[in-house]
Amino acid sequence: MANPQLNGHGELHHLLTIEGLPREILVKILDTAAPFAEVSEREVKKVPLLRGKSVFNLFFEPSTRTRTTFEIAAKRLSADVLNLNISTSSQTKGESLLDTIDNLSAMHADMFVVRHASSGAAHFIAQHVAPHIHVINAGDGRHAHPTQGLLDMYTIRHYKKDFTNLVVAVVGDILHSRVARSQLHALTTLGVPEVRVIAPKTLLPAEVERMGVRVFHDMREGLKDVDVVMTLRLQNERMQGALLPSPQEFFKFYGLTPDKLALARPGAIVMHPGPMNRGVEIDSAVADGPHAVILPQVTFGIAVRMAVMSMLAGG
């Protein structure tokens, strides 16, 4: 089965998921992002790489943060940006997803940035757009959020330089997290020798070990000697019911507190994709402490998204 993200020359045509992408492409994205991080520091934060190109942000699921960072990234590349918030409910009443895509394609878009509540929606859209249009997955259901995974890798590389001697732990709701899936694929592809997941059994996907990770249920054990701790957001609707008894109990077992973090290696960094639930998955003392690199993640996110857009549309 041909990888639907790559063109005939093995180059990136869409960015739908990290899974199945060769290491060289991931490294190239990270390398391309480095000079863009610098652009963002300049007085005039603009380069003309995407001048005359139209980027459509198609958000079938509400999002402020991700949409904004994509918008900033596209504008810093001098693209024209159109934001479309298409609520899924109004869609089911009328136009089908295919009709929506056809109509927007007819408006001569060059790139779609897509967020959708259904796993596989970005693949579906990529299969049905005109061949010149590039699709970037900005989060599809529980499946993937590849630019988040990449910006996390950029952050790790920034602080730790080399992936091949690290122990990285991803903590929390892996089951429902598209961010976690993208992180795990990125970490294993980039050669991190030990990737751990830490969660209760209710929040782990079936056969998660097959993704090349070690599974821990005891957070203290799982954090021992790690270099990077990647915490995940716990959605409100998961906090009580049959998955977890309460946010308090989740915090007791899986909240990242200073005493648990003390088990990690001394220079360990702490990451979070945002928005944080303080006191649920992360203690404020950690979120605001010296190990946290959560705000740099946001800054790097713009550079990484610029890199992806320029690689796709710039050819």
Binding site: S118, S119, G120, H123, D140, G141, A206, V208
Partner: protein, 426 residues
């Protein structure tokens, strides 16, 4: 109308016959095999040189979408597809709209089907009113109107007391009950097997235990009530083993598997291919291989098409939002032959699973070629391979995970009650 089928390879799996013989048909019945009766003058001679002459296929699960879903398929289109696939008898599940829970609906359906002069239709009546799992239907009345068994299609009976009462009542009159083995809670919201693929793709899972947990309940209640239970669409190795064990212990239980689950696994979802969105879900390779062997061993009684036409608007959507189901009537024979060839089974044993075995499950006389039996026949060329394409499918349902496959076996003639109801263009 008298027909003489000559030079064919006659396959009657019920009697273990696989021999070059002529078949003589008169007044809708098979009148002789081998040598014709004295004074037999055929109105038509069919030269079956190179063809297999076998009983017409019996399909245990074909959704014809009437009443209620005529935009998906009609009785006309699907009956045409059935006979093109060599199927001469088919059972249809009760999940129409409205469901088949009233004698009038069943009579109308039977009447419409008879008028088309194609395959014979055997409706499965609803076990509970509206398939809601609360009130029993008038099974006696429904039987008189033509229902051959009672079931819920894929709808659950949540209340196990209602389930017990339904089985007791059906057992009283020896009505067979056909039930789908998926625990409604463990399977809730799921769209794929809860395993490696669903985990990676972020699809909500249906664990294998959804099948085994429900089966444990069904088999225990079948044991207690003595009902004749038919378990529809088994998908797991463990489930098939539970049924085989129960049968060894004297429980009156049979089961079937679909062509999809006999050939495909969760891996066929690939990059979210909604053609592989099926209910029940495709399982692991281990499960698939166990089902193939269990069908060969007769631990699974029959193979069915699980024909479910889904229109493009409902299929061309992201995986979880797409409707489950695949077209199957025209693929039943080719996929059965493919399975038999891959397991190196004798052709008679292969064909038994889509003729005499499902006929036994349905309690029909069909599925055999003895003198005096209804002349329901399928003549096919086992050597020809054809590619599955949307254009070639007669069914209004064009969606199947087998699109693009080259499959063996081309139906050349189908006869129902001694009439040629399908003849392939040459």
């Amino acid at each position: 109308m008298k027909i003489h089928i000559r030079n064919g390879r006659v396959l009657d799996p019920a009697r273990h016959i696989d021999a070059r013989q002529d078949v003589f048909i008169a007044a809708g019945k098979i009148v002789a095999l081998g040598a014709g009766p004295d004074g037999f003058h055929a109105n038509r001679v069919i030269d079956a040189e190179g063809l297999v002459v076998c009983p017409g296929l019996v399909d245990l699960a074909a959704r014809l979408r009437e009443p209620g879903f005529e935009y998906r398929a009609t009785l006309e289109s699907e009956m045409e597809a059935a006979v093109a696939g060599g199927i001469t008898s088919l059972a249809c599940p009760p999940d129409t709209d409205p469901p088949l829970d009233e004698p009038g609906l069943v009579e109308m359906l039977k009447y419409r089907a008879r008028g088309l002069n194609r395959a014979k239709l055997y409706p499965i009546g609803a076990l509970t009113a509206g398939l809601a799992g609360e009130r029993l239907t008038e099974m006696g009345e429904l039987t008189e109107s033509g229902c051959v068994a009672f079931g819920q299609a894929t709808r659950p009976i949540l209340d196990t007391q209602v389930l017990l009462r339904a089985l007791q009542y059906a057992a009283t009159f020896d009505y067979p009950v056909w039930l789908f083995p998926q625990d409604p809670f463990l399977g809730r919201g799921g769209v794929a097997h809860d395993g490696e693929v669903a985990g990676r793709l972020g699809l909500a899972g249906i664990p294998a235990s959804a099948e085994t947990v429900r089966l444990a309940t069904l088999l225990q209640l079948a044991r207690d009530t003595g009902v004749r239970l038919h378990v529809t669409r088994i998908t797991t190795a463990a489930g098939a083993a539970m049924i085989a064990d129960a049968r060894d212990q004297g429980v009156k239980v049979s089961c079937d598997v679909s062509i999809n689950h006999l050939h495909l696994t969760e891996m066929d979802i690939g990059y979210f291919d909604s053609h592989a969105h099926l209910a029940p879900p495709l399982r692991t390779r281990r499960d698939r291989d166990a089902l193939r062997q269990a069908l060969a061993d007769g631990k699974i009684d029959a193979l069915c098409s699980d024909h479910t036409p889904v229109d493009d608007d409902a299929k061309q959507l992201p995986f979880a939002e797409a409707e489950a189901g695949a077209t199957g009537l025209e693929l039943l024979l080719p996929l059965t032959l493919k399975w038999g060839a891959e397991l190196k089974l004798p052709l008679a044993r292969t064909v038994a699973r889509i003729t005499c075995d499902p006929a036994r499950v349905l309690g029909l006389e069909a599925g055999t070629l003895t003198a005096g039996a209804c002349a329901d026949l399928c003549l096919f060329d086992p050597q020809v391979h054809t590619r599955v394409t949307r254009e070639a499918l007669r069914s209004q349902g064009k969606n199947t995970p087998f699109l693009g496959y080259e499959l063996p076996g081309q139906v050349r003639y189908t006869l129902v009650d001694g009439h040629v109801v399908f003849e392939a263009r040459r």
